[in-house]
Symmetry: C2
Subunit: 388 residues, 2 copies
């Protein structure tokens, strides 16, 4: 778990960034950001001045925030008037994460903190959070071990004739019993995910979810993940689940089949392993995210699968890996347009996948940590297709 | 499911509100709002002019949006330049739901749609959505039947000595297998929920969740819902779960005990039933939400339980019921400060509960629809404490 010393180090690193940017303070409102800096996820607002002590203002629960929080100054959310006296002064430039804070919150704070100019610090906060400490990597390793333990059990309950949703329910409840927290945090405004997905065969995989495979889901209201479709013999069964333990997320995918996969699917799977290996080797500190994606896409193209890489033909996603941590969609992203260099300590779920219309989705996913000596895999379980 | 005619009626009702308010159009960005007006939840933006046809601009998946969507004009998300030509003109006042749309989205649209003034239409959209059509009430009734069917099974698997999380996992996986969609949508910026909660005994129930009972959860990262604590004999076991089917949410709570409850807990339960009955009778079109809450709070006070009503003493919530529908926290709210009148067609989860420190949480919850002839209960299952 987070220690008081590490919480202080996180605050100090944020303060250094503020000083560099000429920002007097940040006002953090996203619960997950507040948890990262304080160790408590209550309904609250966190003020971090560029110099001096942070203060956590708690709406609910103050009792729990004080019991869990790792900063000294934790107090009840004050009146609007007291807030203005407490949080900086007129003329201050104050950071806020504009990617996630709603307009109404921004407007309210602009009114009660007159004379402050709010500025976007989304990338600063997300980039700081993307580099994991050794303690965080231990937490992620723990999540990976738990998640792998359930993936190992899949062959004991996967059967032809069961519905995708039954397979998903079985994975979900086994994860839950070993401590999966259930709620998968995503940062992007219009994304949402329930646990993961179990998707079989060739049903169309069109959907809003920003991944290679979306699944049909149970209705147009929740058009993502497992459906009521029945799993049949000789179909690729893609099991892609997220493990959330102590807040820390890892993501992995394995392929199963009752029977055998045809040559085209086997070829695509082999290419996904080759791409995974190339990405793994390429993930060193300083490597440019976009270039890793381009290399992966070029390998798919060279294998004759360019039109199937990372999605249904015509609706492909343009990434091959995404950061994970307290959220499923953290930085870095191995994607077109991300020209930032990788840093040691960043943790990436690498997921080269293909969708073959009429046949199904196939691929691999593992979570890796970038180290000074190359990338290290956290999800330690054989990659092979499991044939039953 | 939503029909094309009903989708059109919803758009027309929204347009009437826009015309009354002198607003030229709304730009809806929240997926759940878009689903309500179009029948499809993809990554998209919905433009509804005060006069004329709505247009749905789709980032992903266009194929699925076209297959499911119930409006005529569904097209790919255009370039910024085309967007400005398509969506109104300079001088227009354009509505947006400021409660949920992030600052960055608002800023981007303000840039690409120059000369438009954005204005908040949160309450307009939420109020329209709060009044359910007969078809929606059928959907909610279906969700209620499904949810009740699993509550009926609880006595078959609840045992003393099992952990709260095992009880939760059992409820969750049974719900899932009958079509529960898993993801519980909440609108409030800083709230999140996984499925519901199974909470037993006297462990402290302090937490961020804006309800009477929060549960300890599995860690400080997910401090809500079931914990690893063991369920013991003669403790109140509060089972509060949400059913989400076809997007439509109902909410209910029942009490269980292995053994018997002491006199104080039995008294509190009796009072919760009396309050539920008083609220049920009070819920008629035109009744003021706040007054219903005040009546409930006064009954708790008169029963000597004012300090235990709707939360831990000192951290009590100030409501007794909340709207449900496509989100768990819809309008109306039977709460202090909500002076709006109830309308026929609104659907409310009524949940008088008490927290007795050291003993546990106890109470009842059912989902009701407000009709011209009073309120009608959707969650048809006996209220009694189930003693095993």
């Amino acid at each position: 778990m987070l220690t008081r010393i590490e919480a202080q180090q996180r605050v100090v690193r944020l303060q250094a960034r503020l000083a560099e940017s000429g920002i007097q303070a940040v006002l953090l409102l996203m619960p997950v950001d507040i948890f990262y800096f304080t160790g408590t996820r209550q309904n609250s607002a966190l003020w971090v001045p560029a110099e001096g002590e942070p203060v956590l203002l708690v709406r609910k629960s103050l009792v729990r925030a004080k019991a869990e929080g790792l900063i000294d100054d934790i107090r009840p959310f004050p009146s609007s008037k007291e807030l203005s006296a407490l949080l900086g002064r007129e003329g201050d430039k104050v950071g806020m994460t504009f990617d996630a804070v709603p307009v109404a919150q921004h407007a309210w704070y602009s009114k009660v903190l007159p004379g402050r100019t709010f500025t976007d610090v989304t990338m600063t906060v997300r980039e700081l959070r993307s580099v994991k400490s050794p303690a965080e990597i231990d937490m992620l390793r723990h999540s990976a071990e738990k998640l792998c333990s359930i993936f190992r059990e899949v062959p004991t309950f996967l059967k032809a004739g069961m519905r995708e949703v039954d397979l998903a329910a079985e994975v979900e409840s086994r994860l839950r019993r070993i401590g999966h927290e259930g709620y998968v945090r995503m940062r992007a405004f219009n994304q949402e995910l329930f646990g993961g997905m179990a998707v079989s065969g060739g049903a169309a995989s069109y959907g809003f979810f920003d991944g290679a495979v979306t699944g049909r889901g149970l209705s147009s209201a929740a058009p993502q993940g497992a459906s009521f479709d029945v799993i049949r013999e000789n179909e690729p069964v893609l099991v892609d689940f997220v493990g959330v333990f102590n807040g820390y997320i890892v993501d992995m995918t394995r392929m199963f089949v009752v029977g055998t996969l045809d040559a085209e699917l086997q070829h695509a799977f082999k290419v996904s392993l080759e791409i995974q290996e190339a990405v793994r080797r390429a993930m060193v500190p300083g490597a440019i995210c976009e270039e890793i994606y381009k290399q992966a896409a070029a390998m798919a193209e060279a294998a004759g699968l360019g039109g199937n890489f990372m999605g249904m033909p015509g609706e492909q996603s343009r990434f091959v890996g995404h950061g994970v941590g307290l959220e499923l969609d953290e930085l870095p992203v191995l994607a077109q347009g991300f020209v930032m260099p990788l840093q040691a300590g960043q943790v990436v779920a690498v997921e080269p996948k293909f969708v073959l219309p009429g046949k199904g989705a196939i691929g691999i996913e593992n979570t890796f940590v970038v180290t000074e000596n190359g990338s290290e895999r956290l999800t330690e379980l054989a990659d092979d297709v499991v044939a039953l």
